[in-house]
Each structure stands twice: as structure tokens, then as C-alpha cells.
């Protein structure tokens, strides 16, 4: 197809005209989070109800990608974010469908489905007013939650593929220059300047070149790339075609972990549609440029998110990294020049080409431009996906967008950068979030995971948790990572079990340093971070565990004793009812007692007591 901007405009116009026939548009989030809380049931039920009301031709119900506010799913949005309904169908599906129908028919706003503020009194109607959204700058996620990811015309109607058409009228070097000037840096964790990478790959010797989108998002609690691939797959494809054209690559791969079946399905649909419109395949938009994309499903090894291991995996061998002394832009996949970028980086490219590099570089900080998507999880009120300009402080993200700590507890630390990132303490909460500031604190941006911890989190236990993950996910190729990380785990595990000895902290620091220095790949080099950063910011907590055999957060079971304070216990019986091993005895309105012999120290009694009568020593 001979695709010009006019032609794109015509497709957009036709689609919009068809949509204009509908009186109302209702967007139902079908991101993984909302689907798991019942969004498909809401979709089916609402569709049936609308048909029953005879409104089938007047009301458009659209399935969209992730809206970000996963904590409150299923999310249903009316029109252009005029009304946001949350937890629809969670308590009573039939009733909620009735409420939706009355909003459709009579514009009656269903108070019970509105988002409520922290104080539970203020209710928000429009998406734009909710602090979680109001504080964000959504560029990469702009169309997530608005378009139907399975309909290419919807993407085109929202400006999609305009950047691709535009870039084909630009010189290849000019495209790369724009990316360089924009200041875009790799959003998968490394933060390497994207333009420089593209230029090196373009200049590398060889006629066959590859581009790869890294969608092997393996960090626990991270789902940025997943939401993009599921919610706006065409943005990723468009970015890749532009990059491939600039670099001169003929083949692209998207490496998606097999744990993301919906992403695989939607990407494949998007690829098929893009081919039918001539955005992929031979002679793309009559430019003479050939380029196609294949999806490669990863087997689930964390290390395959590392670029060289990922390429080894595509080649059909076990995912082991190799030294990058020869860069992958010179010798990558099948020893050919290969440009690998993260999914989010690719999805940013069309925005830069469309709006110009000046626009992009005006957002963010001096060294880190643009925005970054974070998955905000843990003990924060609003868990979900947020996109913020680089340089926003941790405090603004956690307390502004995130709405603070659950249950009004005290903030203790935030873990950024995935399992091999680091924990940052409260004293640095005003730190801006960008590539370099986080690295200085011994953590990293990583792909954008952000796990918030409260006073009930033990930092030694947190370090143990991440170490366990890293022990299991080490590929085992090189000695320091394979043998060293498991030994670090053994030491930290010993400390948590009350068997820490003097010298353990120094031993961990020395071993951690040796692993950082001596490991082959980035995973190994950063694997000691969870320990080193928690020692750096929470050394006293380690000392308490080792010297006094105490866990101040009350988490490490070997070091705690739960008891009930006789003055505060009201005898409400709640703890004895909830105790999984039934070790709490006491009559109604009388002081309860914990049988220390039977207690498994799970902390349930502590969590459920409303009178602070359960104490942890």
C-alpha cells in the first residue's frame, strides 16, 4: 500500500466517523490485573445488558490495555476520562451493571463506584482529578487504556504510524541525530544513550543487521513492559520499524517471556495487522525498505533479560551471557550487528519523531530525559503503573501518586531496580529519580520496579528474599555469581536465624565486592546490591540481629516473641479466632494469652489486633 500522511488521515477519519455513530464510549480495562479481578465478566455482562436495552448500536464498549490503577480493578471509564469507575463487579456484578446502565441511559453517576480519597470522604468523578493520575505525565502510556490494542485503525486514529511515515521521508542519519539530541536513554535498566547505540550499529560492518525488543521483564513485581505490549503493541512495532530503517536492519525480534501469553497474542495480532497495511514486510510503504518482526517466546530464565544471554537464547542455546568486550552492536545475534532496546524505549521512539527531539528533551533532568514508567508496588495505597517525568522525587511518587503507606504505617525503605537493585532509606526520600542519582545511592533505575516497604519490613529479611531469587536465577556460568551469591545467602540466612556472628557484616561486604568486581555479566555484578545497600543504610538493623539477636521489625521468626499486653487487651477474641494454630487462649472480655510453645510467630495476631495489645519483642 502506498501510505502517505493523507492516506493515514483518511484511515483515521473513516474510523472516527464510524465511532462518531456511537453516543457513548465505555472503556473496560482488560490488562492482566483487571482481567484477574473479573474484567471479562464485567465486559460480557455489560455487553448483554446493553443489547437487552436495545442500545447496541449507540454504545461502544471497548476493551483496552492497562489503565495503571491495578489496585482498584476492574476499571471502567466513560468517554474521554469523564467518569472513572473502580472495583466494578467486585462485590455485586448484577447491581454494578445496573448502575452502569443507568449512567449510560440517564447520566446518573454511581457514587458507590467512584474512587475515594485517602480520607474515604472525597469522591472523584473524572480520571484527571484522581491524584494518582493527576501527578503523572503519560506519554508512553498515553494510549494505554484509551485504544483497543487489537484494532490497528484505533491506533491510527490516535496518531499512530504517523511517525513511521514521517521518518521515511527523513535521512537515516537525521533520525539517529534526533534520537541522540532527544537525550533518550535505554529504559531497560542500563540507561545507555539510545542514539549512540543506534549510530554504532548503523556504522558497524555487515549487510545483515538485527533489531531486538527486550520484553523479558523478569523482575518480581514489575509489569511496565507487559502493560505496554498488551495495551499498545503498535507503539512498540512502530518504534522498531523506525529504528530498523535508521540502522539498516532487515529483521526484528521481540523477545517476550512465555509467562505473558496476552502480550504474545496481542503483539502477534498487531504484527499481522501492520503487515496488512504495509507497515511491515517487503517494500514498507513503497519505500523499497524490507523489514519484518518475529516474536520469540522466552523460557522464563531471569538472566535472559541480559542482552547477550537473550541473543544466545534466540540462537537456540541455553541462555548464558558472554563478555561484552566486543559490543553486540558489532557482533550480536548470529554474530551480526544487533541493536537491542527495551520495549519501553522502542515505544518512546514514535513520540520523539512525531513531536520532535526538542519537545522530548525539554522533559526530565539534565542527564535523564523524558519520562519513565514505574510499577509501584508493595505497602503503598495505590499500587499500579505510573509514568512520571525523570527527576520526580521518590517522595512525590510514593506519597503523591501512591497515596502513602497502607494502614497509615511508617515508610521505611523503597527498593528500586529489581532484585539486583538496592533499598533506599527514608533520609534519601527527597532524591530525584533518574539514572544517575539512584546509581549513586547504590541502587539503580533498572527497568522501573519500585517496591515500597513499611516499618514491618525487616531489611535483613528483604535482603535474604532477593538473594534467594538471585541464587535461583543465576545462570551458573561464572564462579563469583554462582558460588558467591549462594554463600551470601547462607550468611544472611544464618543472621536471620539468630546465628549471626561478629565479622559477618565485614565478610558480606568483602564477598559482595569480589562478586561485583569479578562477575561476568551485569546480573552477577549487581547481585550483591540488595545486601550491600541494606548494610549501607540499615547497618544497625544487621547489628541488632547479630549482636543482640533481635529483629526490630518483628519479622525474623527465630528472633521474636509475640505476647499480649494485659492492660491493652480487651478480650475481643479476634486474635484467637484468626490464629492459624489456635495457640491463643482466653475468654470473652478477658485478657488473652499466647502459648509460646505452639506459636509459629506468623504475626497474624499482631496484624489483626485493633488495640495494639499484641507486642513483638
Amino acid at each position: 500500500m502506498n501510505m502517505s500522511l493523507e492516506e493515514l488521515g483518511r484511515i483515521a477519519f473513516e474510523y472516527k466517523s464510524r465511532m462518531d455513530g456511537f453516543k457513548k464510549v465505555i472503556l473496560i480495562c482488560t490488562g492482566t490485573g483487571c482481567v484477574s479481578s473479573g474484567a471479562m465478566k464485567v465486559f460480557d455482562a455489560l455487553k448483554k445488558a446493553v443489547e437487552k436495552e436495545g442500545l447496541k448500536d449507540k454504545i461502544l464498549i471497548k476493551k483496552t490495555g492497562c489503565h495503571g490503577l491495578c489496585e482498584r480493578g476492574p476499571i471502567v471509564v466513560f468517554g474521554d476520562n469523564e467518569i472513572l469507575y473502580q472495583t466494578v463487579g467486585k462485590r455485586n456484578l448484577d447491581n454494578d451493571i445496573r448502575l452502569l446502565i443507568s449512567t449510560i441511559k440517564d447520566d446518573a453517576i454511581a457514587e458507590s463506584l467512584l474512587y475515594k480519597g485517602d480520607d474515604k470522604t472525597k469522591r472523584y468523578v473524572s480520571t484527571h482529578d484522581i491524584p494518582f493520575y493527576a501527578g503523572q505525565t503519560r506519554f508512553v502510556l498515553a494510549l494505554n487504556g484509551i485504544i483497543d490494542p487489537e484494532i490497528i485503525e484505533d491506533y491510527i486514529a490516535h496518531g499512530g504510524y504517523k511517525a513511521l511515515v514521517k521518518s521515511f521521508s527523513m535521512e537515516r542519519d537525521e533520525i539517529i541525530e534526533w534520537i541522540e539530541k532527544s537525550g533518550l536513554r535505554g529504559k531497560g535498566g542500563g540507561g545507555f544513550p539510545t542514539g549512540i547505540k543506534w549510530r554504532s550499529c548503523k556504522n558497524a560492518e555487515g549487510t545483515i543487521k538485527y533489531v531486538i525488543a527486550n520484553g523479558d521483564e523478569g523482575d518480581p513485581g514489575a509489569f511496565m513492559d507487559r502493560s505496554l505490549m498488551e495495551g499498545n503493541p503498535h507503539a512498540v512495532l512502530e518504534g522498531m520499524v523506525i529504528g530498523a530503517y535508521a540502522i539498516g536492519a532487515s529483521q526484528g525480534h521481540i523477545y517476550v517471556r512465555d509467562e505473558y501469553p496476552l502480550a504474545v497474542e496481542r503483539l502477534q495480532k498487531a504484527i499481522d495487522q501492520a503487515r496488512s497495511y504495509g507497515f511491515l514486510g517487503k517494500d514498507i510503504i513503497r519505500s523499497g525498505f524490507d523489514f519484518d518482526i518475529q516474536i520469540f517466546r522466552g523460557g522464563g530464565a531471569f538472566v535472559c533479560g541480559e542482552s547477550t544471554a537473550l541473543m544466545t537464547s534466540i540462537e537456540g542455546r541455553a541462555g548464558e551471557p558472554r563478555a561484552k568486550y566486543t559490543h553486540t552492536v558489532e557482533k550480536g545475534l548470529w554474530e551480526k550487528p544487533t541493536n537491542l532496546n527495551n520495549v519501553e524505549t522502542w515505544a518512546t521512539v514514535p513520540e520523539i519523531i512525531d513531536k520532535g527531539w526538542e519537545w522530548f528533551s525539554s522533559i526530565g533532568t539534565e542527564e535523564s530525559k523524558g519520562t519513565k514508567v514505574f510499577s509501584l508496588v508493595g505497602k503503598v495505597n495505590n499500587t499500579g503503573l505510573v509514568e512520571v517525568p525523570m527527576g520526580m522525587t521518590l517522595k512525590e511518587i510514593i506519597f503523591g501518586l501512591g497515596g502513602g503507606i497502607q494502614g497509615g504505617k511508617k515508610f521505611k525503605a523503597v527498593q528500586t531496580g529489581g532484585p539486583s537493585g538496592g533499598c533506599i532509606s527514608e533520609e534519601y526520600i527527597d532524591m530525584p529519580v533518574d539514572f544517575d542519582s539512584l546509581t549513586k545511592l547504590g541502587s539503580m533505575m533498572g527497568s522501573g520496579g519500585m517496591i515500597v516497604m513499611d516499618e514491618r519490613s525487616c531489611m535483613v529479611d528483604v535482603a535474604r528474599y532477593f538473594l534467594k531469587f538471585l541464587v535461583e536465577e543465576s545462570c551458573g556460568k561464572c564462579t563469583p555469581c554462582r558460588e558467591g551469591v549462594r554463600r551470601m545467602y547462607e550468611i544472611v540466612d544464618r543472621i536471620c536465624n539468630g546465628d549471626g556472628v561478629s565479622g559477618d557484616i565485614e565478610h558480606l561486604e568483602e564477598l559482595g565486592r569480589a562478586i561485583s568486581l569479578g562477575s561476568l555479566c551485569g546480573l552477577g555484578q549487581s547481585a550483591p546490591n540488595p545486601v550491600l545497600s541494606t548494610i549501607r543504610f540499615f547497618k544497625d538493623e544487621y547489628r541488632m540481629h547479630i549482636d543482640e539477636k533481635k529483629c526490630p521489625a518483628g519479622v525474623c521468626k527465630a528472633l521474636i516473641k509475640l505476647s499480649i499486653h494485659p492492660d491493652r487487651c480487651t478480650g475481643c477474641m479476634r486474635c484467637s479466632a484468626e490464629c492459624p494454630v489456635k495457640c491463643i487462649s482466653g475468654e470473652k472480655k478477658k485478657v488473652h494469652i499466647i502459648d509460646q510453645e505452639k506459636c509459629i510467630k506468623c504475626g497474624t495476631c499482631y496484624d489483626v489486633c485493633r488495640f495494639d495489645a499484641v507486642t513483638i519483642e
Binding site: 530464565a301 538472566v303 541455553a318 558472554r322 563478555a323 568486550y325 566486543t326 541464587v471 535461583e472 536465577e473 543465576s474 545462570c475 551458573g476 556460568k477 561464572c478 564462579t479 563469583p480 554462582r482 558460588e483 558467591g484 549462594r486 554463600r487 547462607e490 565478610h507 568483602e510 564477598l511 565486592r513 569480589a514 562478586i515 568486581l517 569479578g518 562477575s519 561476568l520
Partner: protein, 236 residues
Amino acid sequence: MVEFKINGRQVRAEKGETILDVAKREGFEIPTLCHHDVLGADGRCRLCVVELRRGKRKRIVTSCLYPVEDGIEIFTQTEDVKLVRKTVLELLLARCPSSDVIAYLAKQYGVNIVRYTKDNDKGKCILCNTCVKTCENIVGVSAISLTGKGPFKRVSTPFDEPSEVCIGCGACAVACPTEHIYMEDRNGFRTIWRKKFELARCPVCGRYHAPVEQLEFISKISKTAMDELLICQDCK
């Protein structure tokens, strides 16, 4: 031609050579375990690390893999280098407490005590991959491979079953730097990787000298008559 410095001394090298190649030729001592002159380098053991400085920047690199560059300065004995080597050897000794090779190297590089619980299930295997490469690249049968990941990584035949393609040549056992691979010749049979091979008897001297399957393999690829191969090397 590339020029750079090792421990302050100017050295010259061909483009494409590694730091280890040049250091060895020039007489600098760098310990190795997984490196093999014929099979090449993998960068697995991390014993051969050296410190590379360029201007103010310094970093630890793997000398067996790093291609030489003009103007770099290499140091083979800095504190960081010693820390990595010593740590690697302590970790390997904890993994393979029965290996004399590791024990000797560990002592040489200052490991006096092992602070970790010693493993008893890993034998003497340090996962250097030499056996796998020997089998794949030299023998050409790929009977064994690395399997599993992390601490559970090990060398084995597919599904730990006796391999259909193994010819019992024992090249893996000969190449192994730590003598981990078990091979036994007894009563006319060779046992290796859980498979029992019948040994061929030399018709001249009557000595058992090679597995029949190995001779058949050689016969097939070299198109040499079996009768000829059955005669042992000494009697030829």
C-alpha cells in the same frame, strides 16, 4: 600491531590477541582454570582477571577474553585482582574440597581457611565446560552438556541416561583440569557417564586398547577398515 603495558612494561601484540595470550608469552603469571589452548576461552572461572586502566578509569576484566588495545595499562597483581582471585579460589575449594588442583592453587594464592560449609555433592567439577567443548568440538559427538542453572548447574548426558552417541573415548576425562570425570577400565569393559563399553582387544598383543564403539566411529568418519583399527597403536 598493538602496543600497551603490562605491570608497567611496554609490550607489543597482534590485533585480535587477548591479554592472556600476550601476558603468557611475555612471562607474566596469570592463573587460569577454564582456559584451554586448543578449546579457547569462556570466561567462566574468573581466575584470570586483571585490572585494566585507561587514563583515570580502571576496571577488572577477564584476560582470557579481552582483546588487546593500544594504550591500555594492565596490572596483574592489584588488591582488587587479588581479592577476586582469592574469593574465587575459596569458593571453588568450598565447592570441591577433594580437588588437589584447587587446593594447591588456593594455597598458592593465600586461601588459608574456607569460611563456608563444604559441599559434598559436586565432586571435583568446577563447571569449566572443557569436557563439553572437547566432546562437541574435538570429538564431534556432543554426548554431554551443561544442564540446569545456578547452584544446580552440572555436566551430564541428556536426562542423565546413558548417552546414545557417547563413544566412550574418554577425551572429556583427559581434558578435565580437576580429574572430576570418572572413567574405569576393568575386565575388558570401560565405564564412563553411566555407560558400559566393550573394549576392543588388539589381535597382535592381546591388550584391551579402545572401546569398540570408538573404533567404529573412527572407522565410519575416516573410512578406515575396522581390521586395521583393531590393532593397537603400539603394534602398528
